[in-house]
């Protein structure tokens, strides 16, 4: 290998790698963070290619590895990847739907050096949970996997995506997550990109429901102090300031898709003007530091008003580029979740109308066949 090209001083080294090992998934959650265009199994990177990606990431300064998908356990080589991560001292976090993971498989992953397990749940009520996941019996399998994790003494996070169709159950969901043995609970309001955006009118909670969910989490934090940690992700539709999406574009996180495309965030391919390089034809270090896609919105030089002169521009980095494009038509605009955005009032009105409509539309489940329907305009 030739000496690595130096990284310009203005570019910080990345700390996290989100490895989307596959887009295959047995579940069909209508807020899936995968793109509408799902990559096929035939295009997935090989074991050797992923191991090479892990090496490059570790050399680049990455400390944390998120093994995600789709359903990452659909990859039969997952144990090898976990073992390699451990060898390179990468902190490995397996983000799974919990479907189809046997006790033996989890034991093998733990023996390979897996540091932490994260299981998503759709609700505490099994019937509603299976309805949201789109697969009968999914909930029971998650419960079983949590039991295997407890038996193996493997640290567990329960992630609960929250939306209109389960938000009123939040207190019970938290209690359920704690009963599963979670030492960390993520209460994550759905973010409205891709599949989530396509289903926004069915999923966006009311402002009142969001306020209540904040209160429920505050009470749980108090009740479980020193025993369970809580992370809360708010839905930004009711915010006054945008979230610092990905901690800023190209500042800390690298996302690699199943086929090896390198993205600044998992939704970045929704910006059609950007060209994304692949680990199959360019070194990761070079992509991170010098590629067009990573430099497009890195830092603040690309900003227009009101971001350019904003005192918070290095706190929230203008919010989310994908959301700016989807809702205002220009990825370089301020994220319309910001009160300073000219589109903010319009978005607030839209959120009010959609979240309070008496008859929310049917869910569009995440399947390759429904992607075409999900692409219809929503803004």
């Amino acid at each position: 290998m030739t000496a690595p090209a130096p990284i310009p001083a203005r570019v910080p080294a990345p700390v996290g790698l989100l490895a989307e090992l596959t887009h295959r998934c047995p579940l069909q959650c209508p807020y899936c963070s995968n793109p509408l265009e799902l990559e096929r199994q035939a295009s997935e990177l090989s074991t050797a290619q992923w191991i090479n990606v892990l090496d490059q990431a570790a050399d680049l300064g990455v400390l944390q590895l998120h093994l995600s998908g789709g359903e990452p356990t659909a990859r039969r080589d997952l144990e090898q990847l976990v073992a390699h991560a451990a060898k390179r001292q990468l902190y490995s976090n397996l983000i799974t739907s919990g479907y189809g993971v046997t006790r033996d498989r989890l034991a093998a992953l733990t023996a390979s050096g897996l540091d932490h397990l994260q299981i998503s749940i759709q609700d505490s009520d099994p019937v509603n949970a299976d309805r949201i996941a789109g697969v009968p019996g999914a909930h029971a399998r998650k419960v079983a996997l949590a039991g295997f994790a407890r038996a193996l003494d493997l640290a567990l996070t329960i992630n609960a995506p929250i939306h209109r169709q389960n938000v009123d159950n939040l207190a019970a969901i938290i209690e359920f997550a704690v009963s599963l043995g979670a030492r960390r609970v993520e209460v994550a309001h759905v973010q409205y990109y891709g599949w989530g955006l396509a289903n926004r009118a069915a999923l966006l909670p009311t402002r009142q429901q969001v306020v209540q969910s904040i209160d429920v989490v505050a009470k749980a934090r108090h009740q479980y102090k020193g025993v369970v940690t809580f992370d809360f992700v708010a839905p930004d539709y009711y915010a006054k300031r945008p979230k610092p999406c990905m901690g800023g574009w190209g500042r800390g996180i690298i996302n690699v898709t199943p086929s090896g495309k390198v993205l600044p965030c998992h939704a970045a391919q929704s910006i059609p003007a950007l060209k994304f390089d692949s680990v199959t034809d360019r070194p990761l270090r070079d992509i991170w530091a010098n590629s067009e896609a990573f430099n497009a919105y890195r830092g603040t030089a690309w900003m227009k008003e009101p971001c350019r002169s904003c005192e918070f521009k290095e706190a929230d980095w203008g919010g989310c580029r994908c959301q700016a494009l989807a809702l205002t038509g220009d990825a370089a605009n301020a994220d319309p979740m910001c009160a300073k955005s000219p589109s903010h009032g319009e978005i607030a009105k839209l959120a009010l109308v959609e979240s309070t409509a008496a008859d929310p539309p049917a869910l569009i489940y995440r399947t390759p066949a429904s992607a075409a329907g999900a692409r219809s305009p929503t803004g």
Partner: protein, 97 residues
Amino acid sequence: MTGRERIILTTHSQPALARHVKLRMDDTRQRWVLLAPERLLNPSDTAIAVLQLCDGQQKVEDIAAKLAAEFDAPAAAILDDILPVLQDLADKGYVTA
């Protein structure tokens, strides 16, 4: 570790890093880091010195005595410094005892 009670550390506790927490040198940035799910901490020099001694064997008072010798400071003062640090880390699930 799957206990449902808050751990209260005393001078006799024998703290250890939780199994899912990793303390390592970050060569790229030349500093120690504490890694946990979705968390990346840069502990203070004091916290790092303490964490390196959290092996599940030594008591908090032993750790304080060692640090007192190393930094030439009164053990009682060190104890006052490190107990809240360890309690905070235990409350976040990073340290068990």
